[in-house]
């Protein structure tokens, strides 16, 4: 079946088996170009596994994953050129300064690395602290550095796992603003995973609720709230999985 050119990501019938555990069970979703798409669900639902397949870190047991028409299994090297991944518990190299870390990462992009670093310095808001070693950073500072790293090269697809994890209210707000701005100005497509329903509702054009390795419901946040007659996405989620 030909790939729909307007799609940034197309996951079809993904299955991932880890030993006896089936992490993904026939999971399918698609993301349009320039869209912010959120995967939400409880721990162990299969969100991170999905993100790892999109980012070519792991292979699906069966099913297919396409990123801008490229197969994430057979064309992994090409896929890596157009995406950027921010893992949930990512860290920075302790003995490199923030500036050195950004320089190291920017050199892989092949684009104008000095421009990318300037961009990252602005996104992170770390100022002179970029000259300090990453081991001296607080959790929030480190996360801002990593978000900046993920966006500085203006990837076609940014895969963000809990982008505002560990950030205080103001910095979380700052990061969300940047993500929104990048989508608007640079046409970046975003696939994110989050437990923060406020964040999901604010950022995402569409969301998919994942439970036990499968997508149980998908749609725009406002549509889902209306469909399930709920005040917020938390309630929607609880109703969908039969908790409420």
């Amino acid at each position: 079946m030909p790939f729909n050119v307007s799609l940034a990501v197309e996951a079809k019938n993904l299955v991932k088996q880890f030993g006896n555990i089936r992490a993904l069970n026939d999971l399918s979703f698609s993301i349009k170009q320039g869209e912010i798409f959120g995967l939400i669900g409880p721990n162990g639902a299969g969100k991170t596994t999905s993100l790892r397949i999109v980012t070519t870190l792991i292979l699906p047991t069966s099913g297919s994953m396409k990123v801008f028409g490229l197969d994430a299994v057979t064309q992994a090297a090409e896929v890596r050129k157009i995406l950027s991944y921010l893992p949930e518990e990512a860290g920075a190299y302790r003995n490199l300064s923030g500036q050195e870390y950004l320089e190291f990462m920017a050199k892989f992009s092949g684009n104008n690395s000095s421009e990318a670093i300037r961009e990252a310095a602005e996104i992170s808001g770390l100022g002179n602290r970029l000259k300090d070693r990453a081991k001296t950073y607080s959790k929030g500072m480190k996360r801002r550095l990593l978000v900046a790293r993920a966006l500085m090269t203006k990837p076609k697809l940014a895969v963000l796992d809990e982008p505002a994890s560990g950030l205080d209210v103001l910095h979380a707000y700052h990061v969300r603003q940047i993500i929104k701005r990048y989508v608007m100005s640079e046409g970046v497509t975003v696939l994110l995973s989050s437990h923060n329903m406020l964040e999901v509702e604010y950022l995402c054009d569409r969301i998919a609720l994942v439970n036990k390795g499968n997508i149980v419901v998908e749609g725009k946040p406002s549509e889902l709230k209306s469909r399930y007659n709920s005040a917020n996405l938390e309630e929607v989620f609880a109703k969908v999985i039969g908790y409420a």
Partner: protein
């Protein structure tokens, strides 16, 4: 008692004892290693003593007098002897007679021996009779001087019991078919003993230290959560592996160079010291490695380090954190320590063929074997070792590159009795 100390101590002990990696690495491995060392030492001593007792003694009787006959009959009581007449020591060496008669030493009773004995015992103590002893030089184990000690004690025993103070003995060593006059084999063994212990110990330290560094490189990426990001960058996975190996190799290369400089300095110090009495000059004896020898030894050490580093990187991929990685790499240490100890204490040529094959098959043995071979200029053994270790390293690097090319670099874990396996899988999902 410090407040809370007992509680913290109990918690720490539980954490440590319940970690199978720690338990095996810290407790069980040493429990195995020390008995093995004991067995090696016991075997080495036993072999050396048996060889000394079973040793044949070749006697070149160029005197043919009464006293030489008496000395020969005395020695005949204590050893299996073969007597040849009218053969000079150099002829014996040239014709390979020691090997033919299965002995590593021989003595010459020179012409005039009986006459001198008679003169001495007739009341002229200024004239003594000399026996010349010759020992084949081998880079054996630390008990290799037992043989020559046996002969020496027999001669002195004759001197004490039969003809007090009438007999003297000169000692020489045969190195590479050349007789080196007036070199005491026991003294030479003592000098070489220092390096036959110092070298393997230094190699062991260098190998284990380098492997620790390499093991932490991947484990640190996992522990600091930087590996996932790194693997999604548009960079060849093999480049990631090579970057890690190369940096560790550079550090190890500097280590190997420092090691060679230190080793060279150690040998030259000894040579200088031995130029004084009693007059052993290792350089003059051809027992200081040539520049080619040093280079080959350095290469042998370097390729072995690379093999160790590649192995450490693979093993660390199976660990979740730095502590796990260092514990896993600890399992390789017996493969470094045991062969080194065996080669240090035993003459590898005297070992059973199967054991010898096992020792040669362990790549970490090669620099220790090379350190002995270089002393006697046996470069072929070193070159073959280098070729073997290089092939091993390439094989290990191929496995490492396959590991880096797949998701196993993220998901592979060594599991102990199933503990934590379910948790690990849940973490992945």
């Amino acid at each position: 008692m410090l407040r809370g100390f007992r509680n913290i101590l109990l918690k720490e002990l539980k954490e440590l004892v319940r970690d199978p990696k720690i338990l095996i690495g810290i407790i069980i491995v040493p429990v195995i290693i020390f008995p093995v060392i004991g067995a090696i030492l016991g075997y080495a001593q036993e072999t050396a003593i048996e060889e000394a007792l079973d040793a044949n003694l070749l006697i070149l009787d160029n005197d043919g007098g009464n006293w030489s006959a008496l000395l020969i009959s005395y020695l005949d009581l204590n050893a299996t002897i073969t007597v040849l007449e009218d053969v000079t020591p150099q002829q014996a060496v040239n014709q390979g007679l020691p090997a033919e008669y299965n002995c590593t030493q021989f003595i010459e009773i020179p012409y005039g021996f009986s006459n001198n004995m008679t003169v001495n015992l007739s009341g002229n103590p200024t004239i003594t009779a000399a026996v010349n002893a010759f020992d084949e030089f081998t880079v054996g184990g630390i008990f290799s001087s037992v043989d020559s000690a046996g002969v020496t004690s027999r001669i002195y025993s004759f001197n004490r019991i039969v003809a007090p103070d009438a007999l003297s003995m000169t000692q020489s060593v045969i190195i590479e078919g050349e007789i080196q006059q007036n070199v005491n084999p026991a003294m030479l063994s003592a000098v070489l003993l220092t390096q036959s212990i110092a070298l393997p110990i230094t190699i062991m330290i260098l190998l284990t230290y380098s492997m620790q560094i390499a093991a932490t490189s991947v484990a640190m990426e996992k522990e600091e959560k930087t590996l996932e990001t790194l693997l999604t960058l548009p960079v060849d996975r093999f480049a990631v592996l090579m970057g890690k190996l190369s940096s560790a190799a550079i550090v190890s290369g500097i280590g190997a160079l420092a090691y060679m400089i230190g080793y060279s300095y150690m040998l030259s110090s000894m040579t200088i010291g031995m130029n004084l009495e009693p007059g052993i000059d290792l350089a003059a004896l051809g027992l200081v490695p040539s520049p080619l020898g040093y280079t080959l030894l350095g290469i042998s050490l370097f390729v072995t380090l690379l093999a160790g580093l590649a192995l450490a990187v693979i093993m660390s991929a199976f660990a979740e954190d730095v502590r796990g990685a260092t514990a896993l790499v600890g399992y390789v240490y017996p493969l470094i320590f045991i062969p080194s100890l065996v080669i240090m204490y035993l003459d590898i040529n005297t070992l059973p063929t199967a054991l010898k094959a096992v020792l040669f098959a362990i790549p970490f043995s090669q620099p220790v074997i090379a350190s002995k071979a270089v002393i006697i200029g046996d470069y072929l053994t070193i070159v073959l070792g280098i070729i073997y270790v290089t092939a091993f390293t390439l094989a290990v690097m191929y496995v490492a590159s396959r590991l880096f090319a797949t998701e196993k670099i993220l998901t592979a874990k060594i599991r102990f009795k199933g503990r934590g396996s379910k948790k690990a899988q849940e973490d992945i999902a």
